[in-house]
Symmetry: none
């Protein structure tokens, strides 16, 4: 079954509001295996809306619209949909009674234009709106349907869940079930080269790559009757992928919500807590970002001992015990300083682990030897210290953010080696 989504509203065309309705509907449809190949946005205009219905209905089985069900004359989605199907609008008494009662409850009288919201083709399935005056409807002709829904997200989402999903589910047998692998340390294009044959090699499950800030997500999606069948389809593909790129996979746990931006940080923090290893953090260029990323994990208090933002040389010496000689000889941005910072913070706070960052975040302060973007990070763990050198692209904030992700990834890797 194929669907299209049409969002109706001048405020969308003018960019006054972000279209969250389309995303919501698209995601829900995907979850029950209904394919969406097109989404459109169009204004409250009879000709353009009619044209839009024409294109969409020709390409799909069902068209879902949001917006344009209000009481004013420029709300005309339902009217144009009925016109497209060649159906007359008639007063739907139960809706009119409901609208009147809603308005009267607010202590007002229904205005004549409110009645407009209660008109539907006789053959339509009217959908009750429990959150506003505009009912929705399923308009049908032959084997095609137009489902008109109100525009305000709160009304739309409730109506979609209460009425549209149950209606659509009768037409779908299969479920779409996904498994997500999250990778760090490999770019999207390199990853594709590694597994292009797997990506192209099948269509159930499908394999798709999504690039995010410094990480890539692989989503394996199976169309199946149930979870069990999906798992059976997904497992061999997942294993094949892991055979090639497992070292970059930092989690395949689907309990991490797709929306969380900081799963890598969460994984590192969780490892610390699970292993019950105390940590102290010494930051120069990242200036608090590393501590902040760890503290975003709710359980961290049992292991996070202290963070130091030692931006100045003086603070590095006084707080962390970095040697003045080291700073003079190698500079604040150096392997040697990073090591002394990590070791010093761990020693000073008597922790199992000390981690540090020092670098040139720019925009000034770079040189040929030490360009903007150069960052040293160190992980001191149970008596051993590893130091990492990196040169990051981007502006000041980006460089700092990238260094932060990187050191937490390095910490994660070192923690895994312990087991």
């Amino acid at each position: 079954m194929k669907a299209e989504i049409i969002s109706v509203g001048t405020e969308l065309l003018l960019g006054d509001i972000v279209n969250t309705n389309s995303q919501y509907i698209a995601k829900e449809l995907a979850s029950i295996g209904i394919e969406v190949y097109h989404q459109s946005t169009v204004g409250d205009n009879v000709e353009r809306l009619f044209e839009c219905f024409k294109e969409s209905i020709e390409r799909s089985d069902v068209v879902i619209t949001t917006g344009g069900l209000g009481p004013t004359t420029d709300d005309l989605t339902k009217e144009v949909a009925a016109k497209y199907f060649g159906q007359e609008l008639e007063l739907h008494e139960p809706s009119w009674e409901y609208i009147k009662s809603l308005i009267e409850r607010r202590g007002r009288k229904a205005a004549p234009n409110n009645k407009k919201q209660a008109y539907f083709p006789e053959s339509a399935l009217v959908l009750k709106n429990n959150n506003g005056t505009a009912p929705g409807a399923v308009l049908r002709k032959d084997d095609k349907a137009i489902i008109v829904l109100p525009g305000p997200p709160r009304e739309m989402v409730a109506m979609f869940n209460e009425s549209v999903m149950p209606y659509l589910k009768q037409f779908t047998d299969d479920k779409l079930i996904s498994k997500t692998l999250r990778l760090y340390g490999i770019g999207e294009s390199d990853l594709e080269l590694e597994i292009i044959d797997i990506i192209n090699g099948q269509n159930n499950p499908t394999v798709a790559l999504y690039a995010k800030e410094m990480e890539v997500t692989i989503r394996i999606t199976a169309k199946a009757k149930d979870e069990e069948e999906a798992e059976r389809l997904i497992k061999p593909v997942e294993d094949k992928i892991k055979d090639r790129v497992e070292k970059f996979v930092y989690t395949n746990d689907d309990n991490y919500s797709g929306e969380s931006k900081n799963v890598l940080e969460e994984v590192a923090a969780k490892l610390l807590v699970d292993k019950n290893l105390k940590i102290a953090v010494a930051e120069s260029c990242t200036g608090g970002m590393v501590s902040s990323a760890l503290i975003d994990y709710p359980g961290i208090s049992s292991v996070f001992v202290e963070g130091c933002v030692t931006y100045s040389n003086e603070a590095k010496i006084k707080r962390l015990g970095v040697k003045e000689e080291t700073l003079n000889k190698f500079g604040a941005v150096s392997e040697e300083t990073a090591i002394e910072m990590a070791e010093g913070v761990s020693r000073g706070f008597n922790t199992d682990i000390g981690i540090s960052t020092t670098g040139i975040a720019g925009p000034d302060g770079g040189s040929t030897d030490k360009p903007v973007g150069l960052v040293y990070t160190a992980v001191h763990i149970k008596g051993e210290t590893k130091v990492f050198k990196n040169i990051y692209n981007g502006d000041r904030q980006k460089i700092r953010a990238r260094a932060t992700r990187d050191i937490l990834n390095n910490l994660r890797i070192e923690l895994l080696k312990l087991s």
Copy 2:
């Protein structure tokens, strides 16, 4: 001039991400008087994309696409656009050099598929990407144009501002010149109520409100022949608005780029530097975010002495000199603790200013007396200490981010009082 926006990407069709690009572009186009009657979203599919170009180009003068410029084989927006215009793709050497240099700086080698991103029709105007590897382009044929832009919002927005707006502006006669007021501490709807008559009262200049995280921006835009005429039109409206809400305006300096998320933080940091007042930071629930926000300002090193992430009671006592008695009697999340933290960190590091945060970021740890979201912040400045209590909505990260913005706003206000 008429434009259409096409968003390309399977992740949009699946509802994995919200389409913020369309909104951004629509809003910017509206601001220079370019009309948008349609927006569409389509997947990475040659036939459907081709069809979409056909429909859009027939209806408009310029089509702007986002997405599908990546290095992988399913990125094909540019390829289909060129095909639609009947143009061959050729290697654009400067782009290829740039892409290679970017990748090499990261210490990696460009993969063969990266080269794909440097291919363009010879007649195209290539748009440099200062934030990623995918260049954009303006493809032209007869009097029509297709402008292809990268999908990641950060890359798209920068390229749009740097290259697309100047390009499109040549086709519009009048200039649109804006003045921006940034407000903190008042919500969008309250602000609208305050100045609704001003918003509705004229159309040149126009007045528009934009709500962001905890702040509102007022943009006053005049259509004028030159800067001088624009200024003459804008000034009286700006003054009228300021008469009513000046106390919430934290800057009207247009030198702060519209994109920077952290203008408030920058304003506070700049004030510190301008006044040459040394600061130390003590953070509990914000866990490094406040230090990090200050350090994001490049000139901060002259005044930022040290930051302490004292998440545990022990650290608060040892590092900041908070009294054990205070913690026992009032708790770590209390006015008294916040005050002792701010005073202690200032005393300990011998600074003019000490600021502190302590709160319950959740999800656990709340009680009836001290609910999740309760945060105390204190600003100790030249011998005096002010303490602020707030209860924030949102998840753990939101609460921490809100407390961070708030304390930096309070710091800003206290700094202004000094002059």
